[in-house]
Symmetry: C2
Subunit: 107 residues, 2 copies
């Protein structure tokens, strides 16, 4: 994604008794979010955690989802009115409370 | 980046008395890492934290750096021998101990 774009990261921290259904996330949640955000959403990526810094160590995050927007305003105006629907889908695939980060793409 | 690639994320959690020199990170640390990892590194991105989920809330992470590799083996063989040099540069731009996550790109 291009320098200056806004990246909204949704990180799902791993932990004891934490569950995350990646199949549902990719095949159901992502299309739901994409449909609700429409043209304001310029791109999305998903990563599955497979490890930490040391070989064989667990991944700090079960998964990460990233959404790209042209501006913070575009994120707010598209996500805000749909936040309840989107966040309401979370219990369908995870019991993890995600960390949400808004970033500016520098490189 | 393409499905199946390995993404190594280096996340710098924000906190009280935490410092992060983004100028040094982008203009000195990134070229250092790129030079050491060479052709094994297929791409890199950097994001600066600007906020959290709620409007006006602080960013959970001061910054995030992401490196892409074709395989976990390529990451290990290029990063491993240079880990000391790379991690040794951290005190030059931050007092944050980063979280390192190895992920597989799904989408």
């Amino acid at each position: 994604m291009k320098k200056g774009m806004i990246k909204v990261s949704v990180l799902y921290p791993n932990g004891e008794n934490k569950t995350f259904d990646m199949d549902y996330y990719v095949n159901k949640h992502l299309p739901l979010v994409g449909g609700l955000l429409g043209d304001m959403l310029k791109g999305a990526t998903v990563e599955q955690g497979i490890g930490g810094a040391a070989p064989g160590s667990p991944a700090p995050y079960a998964g990460m989802g990233n959404m790209y927007f042209d501006s913070v305003e575009d994120f707010g105006s598209s996500f805000g009115p749909n936040a309840e629907k989107i966040m309401g889908d979370l219990p369908n695939f995870t019991n993890i409370e995600p960390i949400i980060q808004v970033s500016e793409v520098l490189v």
